[in-house]
Amino acid sequence: MSKPKTQVIPLHKVIMVGSGGVGKSALTLQFMYDEFVEDYEPTKADSYRKKVILDGDEVKIDILDTAGQEDYAAIRDNYFRSGEGFLCVFSITEQESFQASSEFREQILRVKNDKNDRIPFVLVGNKSDLEERRQVSIEEAQAKAADWNVTYVETSAKTRANVDKVFFDLMREIRNHKAEDGQKQKQKTGKKQGGKKKKCVIL
């Protein structure tokens, strides 16, 4: 079962962002453990990691579930820096959370310092099961997503609708992004890269 060989299972670091109470932790727990937590307890910073099969390959997903509350805004910078992909969650029953997603987007771009805006990023409208309390229309959200050049998905942590989809979509993006990066890196310092790889094999 365990293969302590040179073949390292790729690890994708996903960060959950979004305002407080939109259901970041609920989505995470649903994805990780197939459970839906009813009671609300504000998150500080939770860490999850497990193996999943992504398009037939074994990968590890590392989920950092961050705090939505403003109190923790200051420490977000640190977390964002280590993230490779972001699930920006808002609640379709709360307009403010949708507005706040723009701030998160900006903060991420600032921290990641990516000129091309090509950060793996998925805009998630959660609580789709509460259709009767909807405040954010699909069109509105899709317009924003299109503006950012990202995908928009509506999910329900309660019914597990699209939960797997958002995580897997994001992981694919991360994978592709890494591949592109690798390509670039190779073009830059092809020989060096090779040397490094060899070293890994030895280790």
């Binding site: 932790s25 727990l29 990780m32 453990y33 459970e35 998150t43 500080k44 910073a45 939770d46 860490s47 999850y48 990691r49 497990k50 590890k60 590392d62 950092l64 579930d65 420490i75 910078d77 640190n78 977390y79 820096r81 280590s82």
Partner: protein, 900 residues
């Protein structure tokens, strides 16, 4: 873990795996939700929770197989979260927890007391600085995520490297290097640079100073000011309105509060009183129950052997009920007392049962003393053990004596009845080697007894003498009087003495001769060693046993008086061992002549047989077994014995030469292996003489000096004298042998001479004319040649010596014969002169002063030959003789040349 490998009832479960932490970092004591797989099938299944190596099982709360909640311990830094379950074993984790310590800032609320001396003082000292206190709250000034995968340096390492610095940003001894190492050890340089930028940015923001701080917290400041004003107003109002001072009203209020509180708690207090009294009553009841149940409980505990419990119970009962007035209690207490009496007796009996271990005895004695039994149980125990030990020793002696007797009977029967059981000397010797003699087994048994039981006896005794046995009982002052201590030492000495004498009786009976007869008898009389060889072979083993016992006892720090017996015994055993080993060697050497095979090996011009080598081996083996020690008397004896040993070979050789003929037949019958030396191989007396002579010479010149070297190396004193006396013995033997040989040899040669000289009734007076050298001269020379050949074949080195001697006696005889002649005519004179000259010239190379003078004397008897014709004739005849006998004469000459 399943105990049924194939069972379907309880499948072996996977080990727990932690995949989620909420939160993933926090200060000590923060609540963490641990999620994962197989975190236990129920709350009891979870048997270990470790966060960063700190066990948190106590604070853990099992919720479901995928969720456990617990609180972190005092951890700092990154670490694994490992759960352990009964069903799955030790688990793994995919996520890590990071612990950090928070320092509560001056503006933060805290549920616990915060030591502000460091932070506040630091802040006051730096009050002129424009940085705002909020700076203190920032616990990550570089704004870097700590995403390192484990650090190489542990906190302890860092503590060692930077004992002075601290990582507290506001502390005066803040050490930037340590801070970076501790928090950002694995960050890349790029990250650190970014962190530096971040730090600069924030500090730039802060440089706006208190103003910015005020702006940011303006509402808080306003609130503070408003409350202060409100308070001020109220105070003013109270001061103006109230007739009484503000303190009085406060006092009243407090009084009221107190009254009200008292009322509120009245009920509770009453209930508490009630509960107390109930508890008291219960206690009393319990005490009664304890007493009533005590006899039964005691019985049960006694049966179980838990004497300690009984003793404590009894003491408790005694303190509670000893002075009771109540009849029922008195009755029960009496029963308890009687049981205790029984127990006391039982314990005493148990104490007297031996063998038992030291701890058991100590426990029993302690129990007995705490039960306040009359007398002195420890002392009784010691006496008893002493008696028992003595008994054991005697018993051991009796048993082994008995065995020896039985064995002796059997052997005797075996020899007489079956006759052939022990025909071979070999086999009996071997069987003795494999089965140690009874004395040895006896010694082994004795030593075993002493080794096993004496240390316990001594330990118990010394503990008793030091009063250690009563430390737990402790109520009475049981200081042990010196009398008993002395008595104990005497007892101990008695045992040692008994042991030593028993061993002496077996091995050194002569040392016990001085003892009174009846006492001597007690130590047993052993059969004398009739078979020396078997007894002494085991002696070194015995000595070793006794010595190891001595060192064991010495290490126990036994009193010197007792040790002395053992020590003396050891010494005596050692010297006895040495003596008997020497004796053994001497005997062996003396018996060596049975093993002569008469095979000659040439070594440095002299033939020797295997015998000298065998002799050397025996001596060396003996030496190897013995190590000399420093007793003067023993040393003297040793050197005497070594001399005797070395001399004994001379005796052996002597015997070999002169007695073999007589005893050979006898030995061939009784001793098996002599048969291999058949009579055919036995060389003639003369040959034997020469061989032995060679051996004797070899031993004197080669072996003895070599052996002497070894003796000196082994530390034997006075070896020069020993060597001298030994050499003397060998030269005596040499002379004797030589004498015997020459006698043996020259007699026939010399005897023939007279016959030959007067063969044909020759008369020197009436001889008509000289007849040339007659054959008897040639015969004598031939005989000499045969002697020469014999000696040469065995030992060329002796030729000159041997031949000289023979020639000497020959010359003497010739001289005698000539002197006896009644007169010579001319022809007779020429004849005699011719023959004498022929003899003398042929034997020239072996002449010495004695033979030359003999010849000369002989010539004097013969009238001189004057005429030239006669002289010429003489010369011619001599020359013909020499040319005829050239070959024969050459043998002497060439040899003379050789032997030079």
């Amino acid at each position: 873990i399943s105990d049924q490998p194939n069972g379907k009832v309880r499948m072996k479960r996977e080990p727990p795996k932690v995949t989620g932490l909420s939160p993933k970092e926090g200060p000590p004591g923060c609540k963490v939700t641990i999620r994962g797989e197989n975190l236990g099938i129920n709350a009891k299944d979870l048997i270990g929770v470790s966060i960063c190596g700190v066990n948190c099982l106590l604070s853990s709360d099992w919720i479901s197989p995928s969720k456990v909640i617990c609180r972190t311990g005092p951890v700092k830094g990154k670490g694994d979260v490992i759960l352990t379950t009964k069903s799955g074993g030790v688990g793994t984790c995919t996520v890590t927890f990071t612990g950090y310590f928070v320092s509560t800032g001056p503006l933060q609320g805290s549920a616990i007391w915060v030591d502000e001396s460091t932070t506040v003082d630091g802040r006051l000292a730096a009050v002129h600085r424009t940085s705002s206190p909020t700076f203190l709250e920032d616990d990550n000034p570089l704004g870097l995520a700590d995403d390192g995968s484990g650090s190489q340096l542990t906190l302890a390492d860092l503590q060692e490297m930077f004992s002075q610095g601290s990582t507290n940003l506001v502390s005066e001894d803040f050490d930037a290097v340590r801070f970076l190492l501790e928090t950002h050890q694995t960050s890349s340089f790029e990250d650190l640079k970014a962190g530096c930028q971040y730090l600069k940015r924030t500090s730039a923001q802060r440089s706006e100073g208190p103003l910015a701080f005020m702006k940011a917290n303006v509402s808080a400041f306003m609130d503070c000011q408003q409350s202060l004003t409100a308070m001020h107003d109220k105070f003013l109002k109270d001061d103006v309105e109230g007739e009484n001072s503000i303190c009085e009203s406060l006092e009243n209020t407090l009084e009221k509060c107190n009254h009200k509180a008292g009322k509120l708690f009245e009920d509770v207090l009453n209930r508490k009183d009630k509960a107390d009294s109930t508890r008291n009553a219960l206690n009393v009841l319990n005490r009664f129950k304890f007493l009533f149940n005590l006899p039964i409980n005691m019985e049960r505990n006694i049966q179980k052997g838990d004497y300690e419990i009984v003793v404590t119970d009894y003491e408790r009962a005694k303190s509670l009920f000893a002075d009771t007035e109540v009849e029922v209690f008195k009755k029960v207490y009496k029963e308890v007392e009687s049981r205790i009496d029984g127990l006391r007796k039982q314990l005493l009996e148990e104490l007297m049962i031996l063998p038992s271990t030291l701890d058991q005895q100590k426990d029993l004695i302690r129990c007995l003393t705490s039960l306040v039994s009359s007398g002195d149980p420890a002392w009784d125990c010691l006496l008893n053990q002493h008696k028992w030990l003595m008994g054991l020793l005697s018993q051991c002696k009796e048993d082994n004596l008995q065995l020896e007797k039985e064995d002796g009977d059997k052997n005797w029967e075996g020899i007489t009845k079956q006759g052939r059981v022990k025909t071979s000397h070999h086999s009996s010797f071997d069987s003795d080697k494999f089965n140690p003699p009874h004395k040895v087994t006896f010694l082994e048994d004795l030593v075993e007894i002493v080794e096993e039981d004496l240390p316990d006896f001594w330990k118990l005794g010394s503990a008793y003498c030091k009063g250690e046995l009563y430390t737990t009982g402790g109520k009475k002052d049981r200081s042990v009087d010196a009398k008993k201590e002395n008595l104990f030492k005497k007892k101990l000495t008695e045992i040692c003495r008994q042991f030593a004498y028993l061993v002496r009786a077996a091995f050194l009976p002569q040392t016990l001769v001085k003892l009174p007869h009846d006492e001597r008898k007690k130590f047993g009389v052993w059969k004398e060693d009739n078979k020396q060889d078997s007894g002494s072979a085991w002696l070194p083993h015995c000595v070793r046993i006794v010595r190891s016992l001595y060192s064991l006892l010495a290490s126990l720090e036994l009193p010197a008086v007792s040790l002395e017996y053992i020590q003396n015994l050891t010494l005596a055993m050692r010297s006895h061992c040495m003596m008997s080993l020497f004796q053994q060697a001497i005997q062996d050497i003396k018996a060596l002549h049975h093993r002569e095979l008469w095979c000659i090996q040439l070594e440095e011009n002299s033939g020797i047989t295997t015998l000298p080598l065998l002799f050397e081996n025996i001596v060396m083996e003996t030496l190897q077994l013995l190590k000399l020690f420093k007793d003067v008397a023993v040393q003297k004896q040793a050197s005497r014995l070594s001399a005797e040993m070395l001399k004994s070979f001379a005796t052996c050789l002597d015997e070999l030469t002169f007695k073999t003929d007589v005893e050979a037949d006898h030995h061939m019958d009784s001793v098996g292996y002599i048969e291999s030396v058949s009579t055919d191989n036995l060389p003639s007396m003369e040959e034997r003489l020469v061989i032995v002579l060679g051996n004797c010479n070899y031993v004197a010149n080669q072996v003895i000096p070599r052996l002497k070297e070894h003796f000196v190396r082994h530390g034997y004193p006075d070896m020069k004298r020993v060597e001298k006396s030994v050499q003397l013995a060998y030269s005596e033997l040499d002379d004797k042998l030589f004498e015997a040989y020459t006698e043996q040899k020259s007699d026939p040669v010399v005897g023939l001479l007279e016959q030959g000289m007067y063969a044909g009734y020759l008369d020197w007076k009436t001889l008509d004319r000289p007849v040339g050298v007659r054959s008897y001269v040639k015969e004598a020379i031939c005989n000499l040649i045969s002697i020469h050949a014999e000696v040469y074949a065995i030992s060329p080195a002796f030729i000159s010596r041997m031949m000289t001697k023979v020639v000497e006696s020959l010359a003497e005889e010739v001289c005698r014969l000539i002197s006896c002649a009644e007169g010579f005519n001319n022809a007779g004179a020429i004849q005699a002169r011719l023959e004498l000259l022929a003899l003398k010239d042929s034997l020239l190379s072996y002449g010495n002063a004695a033979s030359n003078s003999s010849f000369k004397e002989a010539f004097n008897f013969i009238p001189s030959v004057n005429s030239a014709r006669d002289k010429k004739y003489l010369e011619e005849e001599l020359n013909t003789f020499k040319s005829n006998m050239r070959l024969q004469l050459m043998c002497f000459n060439s040899d003379a040349f050789d032997s030079v």
